[in-house]
Amino acid sequence: MSAPEATREITVTVNGERVTRRVEARQHLIDFLRLELELTGSHVGCEHGVCGACTVRVDGTMVRGCLMLAVQADGARVDTIEGLSDSGEIADLQQAFVERNAAQCGFCTPGMLVAAADLVARNPRASREEIREHISGNYCRCTGYHAIVDAIETVCRGRAGGKP
């Protein structure tokens, strides 16, 4: 395992499915997901970790897909927006985003939903300020954020047991 290689064979469980591919060491996770596995739900924005469009989930925690090498995901579980959507995990978030008009062009939306899913699971009693702080790493150029915060707040209240 210690010998340097320019390419490496990796096995990753993506949205519940085991995949094995040989990848270049320099390919980051988001390019691997999009280009090798055609999971284009996650997006590439700034490609240096700032905009959040590439946010995916690795081993249960959200990460920047552009700041992780695909080779580092060997043996890991990766969940993309496709998986989160198909499993129904974020159905309430997706519905709230639609109802609150929290998506316009949709470019930030997958990353925003992964971040939102992390928050509503971890801290459903989050205040609007806490919501804003949590999604501060996901840039949106269209909505001005209010509708997104509204949608997440609605879901938080729903999950915490109150009425939306």
């Binding site: 060491a25 320099r26 959040g52 925690t61 959200m62 090498l69 992390d118 790493g137």
Partner: protein
């Protein structure tokens, strides 16, 4: 893949290795020298590679080595493994209790997704001038544990940061842990940072620690970051406050003394003069926070 010169956003090709122990790391470092870079959290390294500011021939992944992460309280010392993620520090009750300066600082580091991967060791070894943790380490007199083929050595944080991205880490060495003294009353600490938006690189920040008794401060360590190539200790400002009550005139005297301590370079965010002014603002806020009830 062809990209326009100066606009490359993919790394140059490199080889990758993931040793399972430190000896494997030392072997690779010896064989590849300058051509190898260590990969910890990757949150600073990977963008550096993507923007082609760096083009190593080999990346040595530290994530496969056991025993490099975790938080242990051993007597009066809190030992933190270098591979401990920021998110783990954020959630650890031992950090909130024994190293509250870190607990205050970590939420300012970038954003949650980055904190899930980035490590304290990476922050200290990379020594970005705008980074939070190097200043905290200096303010708290932390000791950095460096491992090499021949064994370990410990370096005081104040001696570790030497210049712009320059540390005392030698060729063939790996930062494996950092030891912080557990904070005990009457010592308190306070962290503050100014950034344009939450999570942005700091325009200027301050990691402060001191003894507080009845509104008077003593043994103050005031360490600014984002105000120079490395953490900048404001000794003149601290000496103006030694044994003093934190009153408005005392704060003003300390702020005035900052011009002796700091000479911040200007950057995209602010001129040097503005940064010095902002450092004074942070100093006032931090001092008042330090002596406030319930701190």
């Amino acid at each position: 893949m062809r990209t326009a010169p100066g606009r490359d956003l993919k790394p140059s090709p490199f080889a990758y290795a993931k040793p399972s122990d430190l000896d494997g790391v030392f072997d690779l470092l010896e064989r590849h020298g300058d051509g190898a870079k260590l990969l910890a959290g990757g949150q600073s390294l990977v963008p550096t590679l993507a923007l082609r500011r760096s083009a190593p021939s080999l990346l040595i992944d530290l994530n496969g080595i056991g025993g490099l992460s975790g938080i242990a309280v051993i007597g009066d010392i809190v030992r933190i493994g270098a591979m401990t993620r920021y998110a783990a520090l954020e959630r650890a009750p031992e950090i909130a209790r024994h190293v509250p300066l870190l607990a205050q600082a970590v939420p300012h580091i970038a954003h949650a997704a980055i904190r899930n991967r980035g490590t304290i060791g990476g922050s200290l070894a990379f020594a970005d001038p705008a980074a939070e943790l190097p200043a905290c380490a200096v303010a708290l007199d932390a000791r950095l544990v460096l491992a090499g083929r021949r064994g370990e050595r410990k370096v005081a944080a104040g001696d570790f940061f030497k210049g712009l991205y320059e540390t005392d880490l030698r060729q063939g060495e790996v930062l494996v842990a950092v030891e912080f003294p557990a904070q005990k009353a009457p010592y308190r600490s306070r962290f503050a940072e100014l950034a344009r938006r939450h999570g942005d690189y700091a325009m200027v920040g301050l990691a402060a620690r001191g003894r507080v008794e009845g509104g008077r401060v003593g043994d103050l360590r005031l360490v600014f970051f984002g105000a120079g190539p490395k953490p900048a200790e404001a000794r003149a400002a601290a000496s103006r406050l030694e044994g003093q009550d934190v009153t408005d005139p005392a704060i003003a005297r300390a702020v005035a003394a900052l011009a002796e301590d700091l000479d911040p370079p200007g950057d995209l965010n602010a001129s040097g003069k503005t940064k010095l002014h902002l450092a004074g603002v942070l100093l006032g806020r931090t001092l008042r926070g330090l002596v406030a009830e319930g701190s």
